[in-house]
Homo-oligomer: 215 residues x 2
DNA sequence: AATTTCACTAAACGTATGTTCAATCAATTG
DNA sequence: CAATTGATTGAACATACGTTTAGTGAAATT
């Protein structure tokens, strides 16, 4: 049954370019995220996704022509969500590197952003990155821009905050590694992961490196 | 064709407990590592593994009853190789934490240990870790013991080296994160990964934290 | 009201793939 | 030499799964 008005669908078609309404596409993507997180990419089937979305298997291929396209759309969505959260944190800081670094850490461990399912999906694509170049490009580019942001902020704080003795690149790389390492705990511990402790540990490093700005 | 003497096989049977000679099992495992690295876990088939090993598909299931068993054996092998390299580095240092930390870093980026295929395999299993508890246990436990080793060595160096102002746990976590982050570069850059630069960056952190011992 | 378009279903299709199995070949044993 | 055992093959089997397609109902368009 077509549950949504056609004019809305037509309008959206112009914006998107694929088949189906945005709402249904979204439901499928959400279901796919859940299945990938639960069963892994190797055990993810269109039937499982369809069942979780409460639709027939054929509808999934109606909205996403190929399974590959669905998986890529999932990766894009998760990637976009992470990226958007990062940008919001930086922009919200209004040019203040101290606020930006703190906001980045907070955003990274915000349960609304890095919920266990999304984290599992992210690692799932990392796991196939060596096999599928397109996956490596996506996950790799997010990682690269993350490091670039951290590097820029560290440089700024080193310049403006009087930390001339510090090597910005070394600090940025170490910070990125620490954050990713802590983030990995979400995969391991799931709902039991202590987000406050992670934020505390990330800020602890910042307070060691930039003692006059992170107390 | 049975290419190996039976008495050798019989002797080995006692030690192992599975079907087949050790040599053939080994060939299959090596082929499987290659296929997993190249095509990912989701596209790894027994036929591909068999073809790369130069045997028939049936022989693979003769030596590894189930595909799952083969994959687990691959994980165990890679895991053991990493673990053994780590232990060798620590033992070789003869109780000296400075030498041990340096050796651990060197071992981590030793091309004989962390060749791109093995790293890709490792990430492949991480990617399925959320779906298969057994994978999470294996990769997670290696990670845990790595952190535990680093923590022990940091504690020792802090005590013996006069760094009482340092928080051992914070240093160990940061170091583990930095090393893993750099290690990730092997997956991204493959053969082009600059191992010397990675070792240099890891040691740079150590020299900042323990200036009197890493110059 | 008739027609067209869209979202969807359910079944069918074909292929890929893990697994089984009877047969074979080599080597060891008695 | 005969018999047994172990390793291997290659085909057969079964099934899971991505994809296709004919058909349906509802909404929108004319």
């Amino acid at each position: 049954m077509a549950r949504h008005p056609q004019n809305a669908a037509l309008k959206l078609r112009i914006v998107r370019g694929g088949a189906g309404t945005l709402a249904r596409r979204d439901e499928i993507l959400v279901a796919a995220i859940r299945v990938i997180a639960r069963d892994g990419l190797s055990q993810t089937t269109l039937e499982k996704v369809a069942e979780l979305a409460g639709i027939s298997p054929g509808t999934v291929t109606f909205h996403f022509a190929k399974k590959d396209a669905l998986l890529l759309a999932v990766l894009d969505r998760v990637s976009d969500e992470f990226e958007r959260a990062r940008r919001a944190a930086i922009i919200g800081a209004g040019g203040d590197p101290v606020a930006a670094l703190g906001a980045l850490v907070a955003a990274t461990f915000d349960p609304a952003v890095s919920d266990p399912d999304r984290v599992a999906v992210w690692y799932a694509f990392w796991g196939e990155a060596n096999a599928r170049r397109i996956y490596l490009d996506r996950v790799g580019s997010l990682d690269k821009s993350n490091l670039a942001d951290l590097l820029g902020l560290c440089r700024q704080l080193i310049d403006e905050g009087g930390y001339a003795h510090l090597d910005a690149e070394a600090v940025a790389i170490t910070l990125a590694g620490l954050i990713e390492y802590l983030w990995q705990g979400i995969l391991v511990d799931g709902r039991r992961f202590d987000r406050r402790a992670a934020i505390r540990q990330a800020r602890a490093y910042l307070s060691v490196v930039f003692p006059r700005h992170f107390g």
